[in-house]
């Protein structure tokens, strides 16, 4: 049984630098994944992940352990992503050009070319819909749907009340539904009644 995040943080604060390596190995993929969904760029996501761990390491001595280490790490990464998005001088949405530059969308491979094409179209529609959300809703949707954080962890990461997290998520899902329905995506609409 490996040590918990809290034990590793404690060891790190006591001077055991190798404990931080374990934390990096444990969280790097997830932080990079979240950054990729925020920014739509693999390279930028990797940079953000590295920067987030660097910041965390430098600030670890002052980490109070009131929140979970993962929430704190997500908070750092989210702020870094926000900075980058602001620097892109976009207004709440990411340009379609940036989306296209993000590279091919990976979908779960299923037998049948037609199915795969449908899945790819769906994945692209979902990505476009998420990127078109207002920033605060997008953050919550990504952290909940893809990072699978609890509402409390998201609240800690974004430094907002849990009720705000739920409201943003509810509105974000509503926006996604409208957009996906408009794009003719199948799942957003209620399933048709079975034929008699």
């Amino acid at each position: 049984m490996g040590r918990s995040d809290e034990e590793l943080v404690e060891a790190c604060q006591a001077g055991d630098a190798s404990a931080f390596d374990v934390l990096v190995a444990r969280w790097e993929d997830r932080i990079r994944g979240a950054a990729f969904r925020f920014l739509g760029s693999e390279e930028e996501a990797r940079d953000v992940a590295q920067e987030a761990f660097l910041k965390a390491y430098r600030a670890l001595s002052g980490f109070k352990r009131e929140a979970r280490f993962s929430s704190w790490l997500y908070q750092i990464a989210t702020n870094l992503c926000r900075d980058r998005l602001r620097r892109r001088k976009t207004r709440a949405t990411v340009s379609l050009e940036a989306l296209e530059e993000a590279g091919p969308v990976m979908v779960e491979m299923r037998p049948g070319a037609h199915e795969r094409l449908l899945e790819r179209d769906l994945a692209q529609a979902v990505r476009r819909a998420i990127q078109a959300l207002p920033e605060e809703q997008r953050e919550v949707v990504i952290l909940k749907e893809y990072q699978e954080l609890t509402f409390l962890e998201i609240a800690q990461a974004l430094d907002v009340p849990v009720s705000t997290v739920k409201t943003r998520l509810y509105r974000g899902l509503g926006q996604l539904r409208l957009r996906l329905e408009r794009d003719g995506v199948r799942g957003a609409a209620p399933l048709p009644a079975p034929a008699p």
């Binding site: 969904r37 749907e145 609890t150 409201t167 609409a189």
Partner: protein
């Protein structure tokens, strides 16, 4: 038809909890009670579940290893071979490490044994020195004896060097004689060859002369 409780924050929170399977029993009861009488909310909950299903379609690209340059794809067979090699190397490394550890332990034991013997020797010598009367190192008799031994060693060394020099000179003489003989043999062989060539040429000239004389006799 919209639900009249659409702006109810508490109900929104309950529905979100329900949607993500995090609702407690009380919240679940509240939502179910409302859904039972509200077609709009039932339809919305179904649609949001559909949205969640769709969201799962957006998967991340497979992360590239940070040490692989962009655009270069490592074939699977190469990766498998590398893994195999790595495993083999790790096994060898582990075996080597265990062997090294054993060797180090044995060496440490030997070093400890030598150290122990050394200490015993030193103690024995110290005890012997304590028992023997101290002799003056600069006494004339001791110095004379040392001088004699040094002279003797020097003479022996000079004799050995002289013998070696003689042997070396004799060797050089033998080698020079052999070389001289080889050179003479080569010269003799060359002369013989030249003689042979000369003889052949002479015979051919005589033959030609014979033809010339014969031809001129026939003309006449």
């Amino acid at each position: 038809m919209d639900c009249e409780k659409v702006g109810d924050g508490g109900l929104q929170g309950d529905r979100i909890d329900m949607l993500y399977g995090e609702a407690d029993a009380a919240a679940r009861a509240r939502v179910e009670e409302h859904l039972a009488g509200c077609a709009a909310c039932r339809e919305e909950m179904a649609a949001l579940r559909g949205v969640r299903r769709d969201l799962a379609a957006w998967r991340l690209p497979r992360a590239r290893p940070s040490f692989t340059p962009r655009g270069i794809v490592v074939p699977r067979w190469l990766a498998a071979a590398a893994l195999l090699l790595l495993g083999f190397g790790a096994t060898l490394g582990a075996t080597g490490y265990a062997s090294l550890r054993r060797s180090l332990v044995a060496q440490e034991a030997r070093a400890a044994e030598l150290e122990r013997r050394h200490r015993e020797t030193v103690q024995t010598l110290e005890a012997a020195l304590d028992r023997r009367p101290a002799a003056a190192l600069d006494s004339p008799a001791l110095l004379a004896s040392l001088d004699a031994r040094i002279d003797q060693r020097l003479r022996a060394s000079e004799e050995r060097q002289g013998e070696r020099l003689d042997l070396r000179l004799a060797g050089w003489e033998e080698r020079a004689e052999a070389q001289r003989r080889v050179d003479m043999a080569r010269v003799a062989a060359s002369l013989s060859y030249l003689d042979g060539r000369h003889g052949q040429q002479l015979a051919r000239t005589n033959e030609l002369m014979g033809y010339v004389l014969e031809a001129s006799a026939r003309k006449r």
